[in-house]
Amino acid sequence: MRNARMASLAFAGVLLATLSSPAVAEGEIPRASVDATAMELLQGALELTRGASSYTRMAMKIHRPEWERNMELEAWTQGEEDALIRFTAPAKDAGNATLKLADSMWTFVPQLKREARLPSSMMSQSWASSDFSYNDLSRSDNYLRYYDVEIVEREESEGHTIFSLEMTPHDDAPIVWGRETMKLRDDYVMLSQTFHDQDLIALKQMQTRNIGPMGGREIPLVMRMSDLAEPDHWTEVRYLEADFDANVPASKFTRFALRSER
């Protein structure tokens, strides 16, 4: 099913912008037409990212009322499914890494030289104390095939068409959310995504706070995931460096690579 390929578009984690950004050079970005269907939008975005591999460096700030933590991380992606994320700062967390291969995830702790595979029961837990859950990092094809997608609104803003999408999981879908809503610009830049529970109360929201050129194209440079249930709880990710045409070897996405590098 083609619609299953919308997967990485809704990939709401740190890798979201990377994976859902067009993998073609600036200036050639095809715009989605105003009357594009929901499926065309999502598929179009995915066609552009297919097969691409990327390297990005990001700063992540976890904000709480009582404390704030600044971290830095590197991420490599391959296609829509595989990713390796490694923290580089602060020193205490440097080397901690998460590997995602299709549906499976592992975390490696270099201080203890141990890795753990994440069971599905843990996927809703917070990733590295941030407002992202492992689920946010690991959403993939078969996960997303359970959604009905609908365009609920189109608006014109600053020369772009902005589509509001509503994604409702099927009744029997193994999805924790009751509904997800998304604002997507016609050049496939995601502006916001909101996660609602089964009672359709909004619990988490990801917002693009700054859009700019990097790695040869327009991407969301700063994104913030806010916990709507807890005031003043948010995690912000800022791109420091991006190469969307990086030639990342396939060996990067292996358990061996997870363990072997710092």
Binding site: R64, R69, Q125
Partner: protein
Amino acid sequence: MAAADIAQAPPVANSAGTGSVGMGLYMRVAWRNLWRNGRRTWLTAGGIAFSVFLCVAFMSFQLGSYDGMIDTATGMMSGHMQVQHEDYLDDPKVANRIVAGSDLLRELEDSPDIVAAAARVEGFALVSVGERSFGGLVMGVDPVREPKVSALSGQIVEGEYLPRADSAYVGKALGTNLGLKIGDEIFVLGSALEGGVAAAVFNVDGFFDTGQVELDRSILQVPLSAVQSAFGLGDSVHRIVLMGKNANDATAIAQGLAPTLPEEVRVLDWDKLLPELRQMIQMDAVTSVIVYVLLLAIVTLSVANSFTMTVFERTREFGMLVAIGMKPGGIVAMIVIEALCMWVVGTAIGAAVSYALMIGLGAVGVPIAGLEDMAGQFMMPERIHPEVSFLTLGTAPVVLLAGTLVAGLIPALRVRRLKPVEALREEE
């Protein structure tokens, strides 16, 4: 003179003896009346005796099992009381902690009402071995203090209880799910207090099996300081578990402790920690009260029936008594005293048998053999000690005393409307 003496004597004797001699006479007559129909009296008294026995025995066992349930349930993990951050009960996250944990623990230990105290930290984490991993509640405990507030260390089925600083004591079901055996190494991975990764490695040194699936499947205990450092908690703790002398004193002790605690810290008694326990007891109590009420009502009705018969059969006798000058009130009193005597006989037998049995069983306890699985599930102790108290021993006799008096009084009051002439014409 002699005639005058005789004429004056009875009033003197009467006025002097109304209280003692008169009452004694009533008692004697009532007692004798009771045995004019011995079979009926024995049957009615037997009913009273049997219901006293049933009520006393059931109530003693019931309340005894409640005490046992409370002791077992509070003794497993929760303790009689807990000191926690004020938000921890509703939102048990790592950040809702008591900051200077060891100081507060020492202070509480010095409190005269507290028999034992132990601190815990808890964090939800991934427990992993090889390719397998499960979410679990990692509980940091003090291996010396913890066994005094929790029976978990006694539920050991294999190995030892936290012998080393990197030991883990793992629920049997969690161990099975992870394919663990004694000596295996487990990797624990969670989120630290102020961001970042909380990770630690432990050695499996013991397994426990409580029979309560939710504990056996999710909990692993490890030494307190290991969890505090892995989660970046410093000296913070999440719970200080307290034991008093008796679970029933928890509320009073908790009230006494509350004003001495630091800000944002509160003390909770087991009623609040285990609300389902109190609800379970209340639900059970309500259904049994209905049974007791029915049982005692039936016995009261049978006593009333027996006295109604008596009053009908003895109409002629009462007519004659009134005719020779006895006041109807006296007859009512006599019948009520008869009822009272009936109660004394029945209760004496029922109480003697049941009290002896309950006091004896209360001392040794009654094993619930073959119900170990159910016992684990429903927090039942392995032996029930029937409770011997004023409530369990006294309720049935007192209720039946009231019931018997009413049962005697209602038919007796008919005597006040008795017309001696008509009554005397009744066939005996």
